[in-house]
């Protein structure tokens, strides 16, 4: 199936003629390197983030490759124990602090929040570019730590190992995470203020796209939790450098204190990673099924609910660390409660498809992949939140598989869905439909082969972070490595076809997916101040696909894949006026 750019684009063999002078947009308004490095345009900053985190994704993926290849044999196939420990730490630190946390908020949040709420820029453009510089300084520290020999503590940096025993580059690594945390705070602050103060007329909270709701909830966590990890990282450095006893009991500290401080950030941080992905899915599923989202308010408030409850359950990482019995009871209960809003979202997404008119372009495939993998990730989380099962599964490969299902199966799929959904808007080019759908299929398949065996290994007790293991685990490890190879190929494919699309892709129209959001109202790629004609007045909810109108009440172009059936849009042409009726229809 080829993507029809507009309903009147004719056969795919005849590309639309190139205009003699391309219109001025944010990409071609100036070309010097300085115009990029000193830009305050949120879209350019988004692109800067996109380029940088893509590099870290590749680097973190390479470290994961070393880990998986080494596990081909029970006694370690390719590297020494030390090198292995450094590889999995590099994988964890790069992927978490320099890919997963900034990925959606810093790239797509930066790029699309102003456009989705109908404004010219974020509230603090200079703070925005500063956040990229801060992020890059942190990244340089972390990369330096890796290149200068690596860190072997694991990304969790548990003392007293990290403060006393480790002979590796803990200080620069911790420094990197610490500094990049400020970037996270700045981005969160910027998004929150923007959403509060700069919405277009008529863009009420009840008309905000769910992606904006999700990023708003994310920003709340970034703003409130990141300082805590900053404190705990500073304390690590203080203990390591000055020998002041904070976590090391031989000099008067308490190692469990660190775990409380660390997880008080790092548990909410997993919601920094997954919530934006959930926001993306809400956008994409509605668009490609041409349906209003089912239960807008439930999804919006479940984002906020996850953000708030997410602060209250950090100690479920310590069920076997000798915390008190009653604390364990409480934290287990709260962990159960956070599963409820996640379940609500999944049910709502599935219900959204009911009686839709669904097409399967790449963003939709990635989103469905998200839902399928997130269900596994979410349900297996229940085993770890339940006290009686956690005492065996804790710190085994079961945990590894669980959080990869959520973080990689969920978040990275959401990221790829976002990338494919908004790529035409960001670059003005369409990518290969066939190759992108192929990539989505390969990634989902490779993912299952990689991580399902790890659940079995964990259930049988294989501990995490082992370069050597008993021989009976070999079969499953080999299977997992094979899956990881497929997954790696799947992740490399978009790099190729997306890059090619920049040079050879068809030009994208303003609204290639026929979506309702305000971001599709500006040209592709957007002009410098996003919209050619400000101000916009929003009259509709975010997902009026059934009525065939966008948020400004204008008729939608023909959706891709429906040129064979143009009759169904009869009756909705041109501005439709205010029609935001909150009619509840029982599904």
């Amino acid at each position: 199936m080829s993507i029809a750019v507009t309903s009147h684009s004719g056969p795919a063999a005849a590309p639309p003629p190139e205009p003699p002078t391309p219109p001025v947009n944010y990409l071609n308004v100036s070309h010097t390197i300085w115009s990029w490095l000193f830009t305050v345009d949120h879209k350019r900053i988004g692109i800067l983030y996109l380029v940088s985190i893509s590099i870290f994704f590749v680097a973190g993926g390479a470290a994961a490759g070393i880990v998986r290849l080494n596990l081909l044999q029970p006694d370690g196939a390719i590297v020494s124990e030390d090198a292995y420990n450094r590889a999995f730490t590099a994988h964890g630190v790069l992927m978490l602090f320099f890919f997963l946390i900034p990925a959606v908020p810093a790239v797509f949040g930066n790029f699309f929040i102003p456009m989705m709420i109908g404004t010219k820029d974020l509230a603090f453009p200079k703070l925005n570019i500063a956040s990229w510089y801060v992020f890059m300084i942190g990244a340089v520290c972390a990369v330096w730590a890796v290149l200068a020999g690596g860190i072997d503590t694991g990304w969790t940096l548990y003392p007293p190992y990290s403060t006393r025993a480790s002979q590796s580059n803990v200080i620069p690594g911790v420094m990197g995470a610490f500094i990049s945390g400020f970037s996270s705070i700045m981005t969160g602050l910027n998004i929150m203020v923007t959403v509060h103060k700069m919405r277009a007329p008529g863009m009420t909270w009840g008309r905000l796209p769910l992606f904006v709701w999700a990023l708003y909830a994310t920003s709340l966590i970034q703003l409130l939790a990141t300082p805590v990890v900053a404190i705990s990282l500073v304390l690590i450095m203080v203990e390591r450098v000055a020998g002041i006893g904070i976590f090391d009991p031989t000099i008067g500290g308490d190692p469990v204190l660190f775990q409380h401080l660390f997880w008080f950030y790092s548990h909410p941080a997993v919601y920094i990673m997954i919530l934006p992905g959930m926001g993306v899915i809400s956008e994409v599923l509605t668009c490609f099924s041409r349906k209003n989202i089912f239960g807008y308010h439930a999804i919006a408030w479940s984002s906020v609910g996850i953000a708030v409850v997410g602060f209250l359950l950090w100690a479920h990482h310590m069920f076997v660390a000798g915390i008190s019995f009653y604390a364990a009871l409480l934290f287990s209960l709260l962990s159960m409660l956070v599963a409820v809003p996640s379940a609500i979202k999944v049910f709502n997404w599935v219900a959204t498809l009911y009686r839709g008119s669904i097409t399967y372009q790449a963003p939709m495939l990635f989103s469905l992949g998200f839902v399928v993998l997130f269900i596994v990730g979410g349900l297996t989380g229940l085993f770890l939140a339940t006290l009686g099962t956690d005492i065996h599964l804790h710190d085994t490969y079961f945990v590894v598989a669980h959080f990869h299902f959520v973080m990689v199966g969920g978040m990275v799929m959401g990221y790829f869905a976002a990338l494919h959904f908004w790529w035409p808007k960001m670059t003005g080019r369409m990518y290969s439909d066939w190759w992108s759908r192929m990539a989505a299929a390969i990634i989902i398949f490779g993912f299952f082969i990689t991580f399902i065996p790890q659940f079995v290994m964990g259930y049988h007790g294989m501990p995490r972070r082992y370069p050597n293991y008993p021989a009976e685990f070999q079969f499953l490890n080999v299977m997992s490595t094979a899956g990881a190879s497929i997954l790696g190929i799947g992740y490399l494919m978009p790099a190729v076809y997306l890059t090619l699309s920049l040079f050879f892709g068809k030009r994208a129209t303003a609204n290639p997916w026929s979506a309702t959001g305000l971001e599709w109202q500006c040209p592709s790629p957007p002009v410098v101040h996003n919209f050619e004609h400000m101000p916009l007045v929003v009259v509709c909810g975010p997902y009026e696909y059934a009525l065939g109108v966008d948020q400004l009440g204008r008729g939608l172009p023909e959706p891709p894949g429906s040129q064979d059936d143009p009759a169904h849009r009869d009756g909705v042409t041109g501005p439709a006026g205010p029609m935001h009726k909150e009619t509840e229809v029982v599904g």
Partner: protein, 366 residues
């Protein structure tokens, strides 16, 4: 590639706790899979049924349904709460040991587990031999546990955080420096089981592994009494009954006369046990338990030929019957050349810190 061992469907269950775990685990697995598969079926059905081409293209404007949403909020919450309640019960059992549990102490150290039994017997449960002293290497063995009897393990770490995980018992506990943590088991199956370190602890984290051996209760008692080096170390007497006897032998000052450098006061006891002892005034006696005990309680009754009757008697108030057993076990274990020197000091008790800071002695003379 050589053939690889396949894992069984359900890993070995060797304790009471493992059964509780499995029941709960499969309850969660089955219920959550049912929900998950139900959602998958709905998803697949919608994706096929409502794909474009099958539909008119127009979609109904469905905004939501309060009734449906309440249902799928409350029902999962109720199911999750059943997981929680059952899980709390299993956890309650797992973290509260019974009063009568035999207590074993385990110290975690990069990268080995050092265990000590209530009688002082010690064993290293495994770890990386490259990182051990010679005597530690000699003490590598297995943690022996009795069948069907509760055992409480108390842990502490010498350096960084470790974790003592026993998959066959479905049990795991962090071993933390500066605080004690506890776990208990009631093994239900004879055999040998893996012990893993589950908390990352540095270079040889993955080699900090060992074995637990579950034996019959009777065998366990014999092992504790020091006669059966069950745990497989080459250094089985360390902490055994004989070892305890040796400490008493030194403490009671027996060594002053029965020393390896003869002072002419008393015979050397090496090789005594089981030998034929000529008695003063004729006759002879086999040096068995009874004779040795008698000679300690009433030393002048049967004096060995060629020695003066100068040994004092030790009654129950000085040496209990139990302690006598230990001393006999020690004498029985004495081989040629193993009598300690007279100057040997009373050794520090087992498990005492090996490095002790020298505190300055208050010296009033200066």
């Amino acid at each position: 590639m050589t053939t690889m061992n396949m894992l069984p469907l359900i890993p070995e269950m060797a304790s009471d706790g493992a059964r509780h775990f499995e029941a709960l685990f499969w309850y969660i697995t089955l219920t959550s899979s049912a929900v998950g598969i139900g959602v998958y079926i709905a998803l697949l059905y919608f994706c096929v049924r409502y794909r474009r081409g099958q539909t008119t293209g127009s979609t109904p404007r469905i905004l939501g349904s309060v009734r449906l949403e309440l249902t799928w909020t409350l029902v999962p919450m109720f199911v999750f709460l059943t997981y929680y309640a059952w899980g709390a019960m299993v956890y309650n059992k797992a973290v509260h040991p019974p009063e009568d549990a035999t207590e074993i102490f385990v110290i975690g150290k990069q990268w080995m587990w050092k265990a000590q039994y209530p009688n002082g017997q010690r064993v290293i449960i495994g770890g990386n031999p490259r990182n051990m002293s010679e005597s530690e290497r000699q003490s590598i063995g297995k943690l022996v546990l009795p069948m069907n009897r509760p055992v409480k393990l108390t842990f502490i770490s010498e350096d960084v955080i470790h974790d003592f995980g026993v998959p066959a018992f479905r049990s795991k506990i962090d071993v933390i420096p500066g605080r004690y943590s506890q776990v208990w088991y009631q093994p239900t199956k004879l055999g040998e089981y893996h012990v893993y370190c589950d908390q990352y602890c540095g270079t040889w984290h993955s080699l900090m592994v060992g074995k637990i051996k579950v034996v019959e209760g009777k065998e366990f008692d014999e092992f504790l009494s020091g006669y059966a080096p069950l745990q497989g170390t080459q250094n089985a007497v360390d902490g055994s009954l004989a070892h305890e006897g040796r400490q008493l032998f030194l403490k009671l000052q027996c060594i002053n006369c029965h020393s390896a450098t003869p002072t002419g006061k008393a015979p050397v006891l090496e090789g005594l046990y089981g030998s034929r002892v000529p008695l003063k005034g004729g006759g002879a006696e086999i040096a068995d338990d009874a004779y040795i005990i008698e000679s300690i309680r009433r030393p002048r009754l049967k004096v060995v030929d060629g020695w003066e009757a100068i040994m004092p008697a030790y009654d129950e108030t000085q040496v209990s019957a139990e302690e006598l057993n230990a001393v006999v076990a020690y004498i029985r274990s004495l081989r040629k050349g193993t009598t300690p020197d007279r100057t040997e000091r009373f050794p520090a008790p087992n498990g005492a810190p090996t490095e002790r800071q020298q505190s300055p002695q208050p010296s009033g003379g200066k």
